[in-house]
Each structure stands twice: as structure tokens, then as C-alpha cells.
């Protein structure tokens, strides 16, 4: 064989090899949970969403359903209503059967931990409504209490009524009934649609397309960040807080120096309205961390990705781990647990921010995928 063809054969094999490795990596990152399982969950979700729709009359369905490309997608906020005007089915206006159907839908969409978190955030808002925010010492690094069951008990039959408000009734509405459900697109096992659930300090935006799902952007927040419910201390975002403090304190002085930003961060950088945007990353590179520290980092990230049903969270975690070399952990504030400190985890397809609002008892967080907010990546395929 002449040397040129041999070179060409070799080049071709090398290039094909590179392509094969790329395809294999992509496959492993996107399908560590079987696609059938994800598709199955999407089908169950679509059925649960249809069950909610079946409890509504025509006017109710018109109120809760929006076209997939409508501006409803981006209609979410950390603010209470009506400071931010939400649309959809408000729990306060729902019958007991409708509320039960909504909570059943959420129990399919979310993992056990995710469901607990959502319920605890809503109950926290109920504490704001009643004014009963008594709890243990703020920021105490202790357990979050037993998770609520997934029946929606205490929410489905929750207290009705307006929250505290300004004279004339135009003030903020707090309470576990002030949360809204909306479907953007028609719930389907295959076509793209979005489940939107939110209110004060909560925005869950779950976009589904067949076996694929993204929860970006979502905003779990909490105020009060610590309260007592049925004799138990509840900290909706307590694990996020404790895991982050655990990680920053696990770093040696050199790594801490890289992670800690020399300036105060008073709020979320990429909060509501910053869809699809990305800032120049800062902090310590995840690849510089030891294996146990990396495990702590992914465990921290899991607190956000794991809000979704496990079938969707697992492939997302695998994808994020594949970006180890381009993932950063940044910190601003004291490193003693119980203090108000900001942190950020950022990678090519991830932004997580945790921003105390001047106090440890009022936390805003954001979870984003700048490449796939509202399933933009799915739509491009």
C-alpha cells in the first residue's frame, strides 16, 4: 500500500476514534438514567397534568393554560403577589379536589426532597401570613425535621384568606394558598410543555420534551429560613446552607483564598429577568478540589438539581460532572455557619446562587442553565 493511503487510513481511524469517544461521552452524560424511565415520568406527569385540567371547567382551563411560546414562560418572580402579578390557577381559588390534584402533580414532578422543599417554603410563607415566625436561634446548623408526606396534607386543605396587606387591600399576599399553577403548552408525553408553579419565594419552571427535562430557571427561596412547625424546626434551605459551609471549611487556606471573593455580594447576580445570560466565572476551579471536596460540591449542587424527579436529576448531574474542569465555586462572606454568606456554583451549563438578603433568615437562590433556560436547547434540536 502506498504511504499516502496508509496515512489517510490512519487519519481517518484517529478522527473516527475521536468522534466515537465524543459520542460515547455525550451518551453517558445524557442517559445515565434510562431514557425509558424519563419518558415514563414525563408520561405520568402529562397524565397528572391532564387530571388537574379535568377538575377545571372551561374558564378554569383557559386561566391555567398558555401557548408554549407565550410570555407566560418568563412570568415568575421572588416577590409576593400582587407586587408581582401572577397568572394561572391560584390555590386560594381552587377547590379541595383541585388542590389535591395539583399537589399530586407536584409529587410526580418533584423528588421526595424537592417536594419537601416546596412544601416547607410554602409553609414558611404561611408563617409570614400568620405572623408566627417563632423559631429557634436563627441560622442554627441543625436538622430540618422530618419531611412532609407527599399527600399535600396541610396544603390541600390549607387555610384560606388574604395575607397581611396594606390599607385598601393592595398589599402583599402571603400564605400557602398564594401559589399559582400554570401550564405553558399542552401537557404531553412527547411535545414540549412547561409546568410552572410559584408564588412568593418560589418559582419552579419545569420544561419537558419527551424524555428530556430542565428545571432552569427556578428560584427556591425562604423567609423565614428557620421556623417551627408541629414542634419541629424547619429550615427549607438548611441543607444548602450547611453543605456550603461544610465545603468552604473543608478547603485548605490556599483553596479558600481562590474561592473567597474579596467583595460583598448583596443579591443574586442572575436573578429574575436574566434568562440565558452568563457572567465570567470566578472562584476556585472544581478540578482543583480533592476527590472528597468534589463529592461535597456535587452533593451541594444536587440540592438544586435534585428538586426535580430523580429520573431527570440523575442525567443532569452526570452532565454537570462532565464539566468538572470548567466548574467554579465562589464564596463571599464569613465562613462560620450561622453567618450570612453568599455563594455561587458556576459551570458552562450551570449557575447556582445563594444570596442572603442581609440576614440569615431571608434567603434567595437561583438555579439556571444559561444554555437551556426554558428548554431552549431542546427547542434547537
Amino acid at each position: 500500500m502506498p504511504s499516502l493511503p496508509r496515512f489517510a487510513t490512519l487519519s481517518c481511524l484517529v478522527l473516527l476514534g475521536i468522534a466515537a469517544v465524543g459520542i460515547a461521552q455525550r451518551a453517558s452524560s445524557s442517559a445515565s438514567a434510562s431514557p425509558a424511565t424519563q419518558a415514563e415520568v414525563t408520561a405520568r406527569l402529562a397524565a397528572s397534568a391532564q387530571a388537574v385540567l379535568a377538575t377545571l371547567d372551561e374558564a378554569g382551563r383557559a386561566k391555567v393554560q398558555f401557548p408554549f411560546d407565550s410570555p407566560q414562560k418568563t412570568r415568575w418572580s421572588n416577590l409576593p403577589s400582587p407586587m408581582f402579578q401572577r397568572t394561572g390557577l391560584r390555590l386560594a381559588d381552587a377547590t379541595a379536589a383541585q388542590k389535591t390534584a395539583v399537589m399530586a402533580l407536584l409529587s410526580v414532578a418533584l423528588s421526595r426532597d424537592g417536594y419537601r422543599k416546596v412544601i416547607e417554603i410554602m409553609r414558611g410563607d404561611e408563617m409570614l401570613r400568620t405572623g408566627d415566625t417563632s423559631g429557634p436561634a436563627r441560622g442554627a446548623p441543625n436538622g430540618g425535621g422530618a419531611p412532609p408526606d407527599r399527600s399535600g396534607a396541610g396544603i390541600a386543605g390549607g387555610a384560606r384568606g388574604r395575607g397581611r396587606g396594606m390599607p385598601g387591600g393592595g398589599g402583599p399576599e402571603f400564605g400557602q394558598d398564594q401559589y399559582y399553577l400554570a401550564f405553558v403548552g399542552t401537557p404531553s408525553a412527547t411535545a414540549p410543555w412547561m409546568l410552572q408553579f410559584g408564588g412568593h419565594h418560589l418559582a419552579i419552571n419545569l420544561t419537558l420534551m419527551g424524555s428530556e427535562a430542565t428545571m432552569a430557571p427556578s428560584l427556591p427561596a425562604a423567609q423565614p429560613a428557620t421556623y417551627t412547625f408541629e414542634g419541629q424546626t424547619i429550615r427549607p434551605l438548611g441543607r444548602e446552607n450547611d453543605k456550603a459551609f461544610g465545603l468552604i471549611n473543608a478547603l485548605d487556606a490556599n483553596l479558600q483564598r481562590q474561592a473567597i471573593l474579596g467583595y460583598r455580594v448583596p443579591d443574586l447576580v442572575l436573578g429574575p429577568g436574566q434568562d440565558g445570560r452568563s457572567i465570567q466565572p470566578e472562584g476556585v476551579k472544581a478540578s482543583a478540589l480533592s476527590a472528597p471536596q468534589q463529592t461535597m460540591l456535587w452533593d451541594l449542587v444536587r440540592e438544586w438539581t435534585g428538586i426535580m424527579n430523580d429520573a431527570f436529576a440523575e442525567p443532569r448531574m452526570a452532565e454537570l460532572r462532565s464539566h468538572l474542569n470548567d466548574t467554579y465555586f465562589a464564596w463571599s462572606g464569613p465562613t462560620t455557619n450561622g453567618s450570612a454568606a453568599y455563594f455561587r456554583v458556576q459551570g458552562p451549563t450551570l449557575v447556582i446562587e445563594y444570596a442572603p438578603q442581609g440576614t440569615v433568615d431571608h434567603i434567595h437562590t437561583i438555579y439556571r442553565d444559561p444554555t437551556n433556560d426554558y428548554g431552549a436547547k431542546f427547542a434547537r434540536r
Binding site: C12, L15, M83, P172, Y263, R264, R277, S278, Q280, Q357
Partner: protein
């Protein structure tokens, strides 16, 4: 007799009471920003310009003083002319430099919510400004300093990830309050960017030619030649 002055005084008193009521009700139950003016800047470095986005969010306890600073005719509404003047006032307090040379920021747009939303502390004034720049390839530095209303403000300043593959952002330095941000960055030549594209195209072309050649070599003994399938040659 009701004079214009007494009417105005009455309106002011009513407004003050409403603000007081808002502050007292909202702040005791939901500690959203109240006595601070949050100024969040995002800086975008592009090959031909630097763009600055500034989100200005007054807390409910300081909103009235901000609105008073904009609403020069005291009619309670924020007119385009008043906003034009206010934006100019804000930008005057922003110092933007490229490699030490002062740049002139020109407003390219702004969104302003109604005054009521600003008073409630639940919306922001969003403004965009840009300064043209002729960048040569190599290392550069941009510095941003926001000195607007330091008496009541908290600041944020961040660099957006560049859209252009010609820009590579390096080190960023800030003061502890984020009033100042200094960014080192590198501009690659257009030739570099296009040479990268050429490299990709060349590799793809080589791959295609190689695959075609291999198919021809491997199929030669096994595949019937087209001319043998020609019925006229049968």
C-alpha cells in the same frame, strides 16, 4: 380657602402616609430591600464597544427620595424628559476607562416602571449605555467605577461572558463594596478567529475526503462497478 400650596401639602401628606403604611406593613413581614438603593451593573466587552447595563432598584424606604430626584415637575409621573435627565445624571457618576483612557458612555435605552411600582420597591429602572472602542489585538484593561448616590447605595458589578470568541476575559478585581471593577482581557485578531474557522473546515474536509477515498478502496473488490451494470454492456 384652598390654595394650590395647601392642596400640594395635602397630597404630599397623603403620599407620605401611604409610603409609611407601605413601609411599616411590608418591612415587618418581608424584609425585601428597604433602605438601600441597589445598583447592579453588568459589563459586556465587545470588539467594537463596551456596553454597561445598570439595574437601579430603590428600597421602599428610599424610593421616595429617588423619585423626587427624577420627578422635577413634581407631577407624580416620570416623564421621558425627566428620565432622560436622570439617566444623564447617573451616567455622569459612572467612570469607564479603557487602558486608562476615559470613555464617554452614551445612553442607548432605558426602561422605567411606573412611579407606584418604584415606591413599592418591587421594580427597577433599567438602563443601557455604551462606549465605542477601537480595539487592537493584545492585552487590554477596562475599569468601571460607579459613584452615583453612595450615601444610600449598595453595588454590584459583573462582567458578562463575552459573546465574541475574539474576547477572552482574564483577571477581575473589585473593591469590597463593588463600586469599582477592573477587568483584564485579551483581544484576538480577526485573522486568529477566522484561522480557527479555517482549521475546523480543513479538518472536516480532510475527514470527508479520507472517508470517500476509503470507501472507494474498500468497495473496489466487492462492489460491482456501475459500468458493469450498464445493460448496454451486458
Amino acid at each position: 380657602m384652598t390654595t394650590e400650596r395647601s392642596l400640594r401639602a395635602g397630597r404630599t401628606a397623603t403620599l407620605a402616609l401611604a409610603v409609611l403604611a407601605t413601609v411599616s406593613v411590608v418591612t415587618d413581614v418581608s424584609a425585601h430591600r428597604r433602605d438601600e438603593y441597589l445598583q447592579a451593573a453588568r459589563i459586556s466587552i465587545e470588539p467594537s464597544r463596551i456596553e454597561v447595563e445598570l439595574d437601579l432598584t430603590p428600597g421602599i424606604a428610599v424610593a421616595e427620595s429617588i423619585i423626587a430626584g427624577i420627578d422635577s415637575d413634581r407631577d407624580g409621573a416620570l416623564s421621558p424628559n425627566e428620565m432622560h435627565d436622570y439617566v444623564a445624571q447617573v451616567l455622569k457618576a459612572v467612570d469607564l476607562r479603557s487602558d486608562g483612557q476615559s470613555l464617554r458612555l452614551e445612553a442607548i435605552g432605558w426602561d422605567v416602571p411606573d412611579a407606584a411600582a418604584l415606591r413599592r420597591g418591587d421594580d427597577s429602572i433599567r438602563l443601557r449605555a455604551a462606549a465605542p472602542l477601537r480595539l487592537t489585538s493584545g492585552s487590554h484593561q477596562v475599569s468601571f467605577r460607579n459613584s452615583y448616590r453612595p450615601d444610600i447605595s449598595v453595588y454590584m458589578a459583573n462582567t458578562l461572558a463575552p459573546d465574541s470568541d475574539r474576547i477572552a476575559v482574564g483577571a477581575q478585581r473589585r473593591d469590597p463594596e463593588q463600586r469599582e471593577l477592573v477587568v483584564d482581557y485579551t483581544v484576538r485578531s480577526e485573522a486568529f478567529a477566522s484561522s480557527s474557522a479555517w482549521k475546523c473546515a480543513s479538518i472536516a474536509g480532510l475527514l470527508l475526503v479520507t472517508i470517500l477515498w476509503l470507501l472507494r478502496v474498500w468497495c473496489r473488490p466487492a462492489c460491482p462497478r456501475f459500468d458493469r451494470l450498464d445493460p448496454r454492456r451486458a
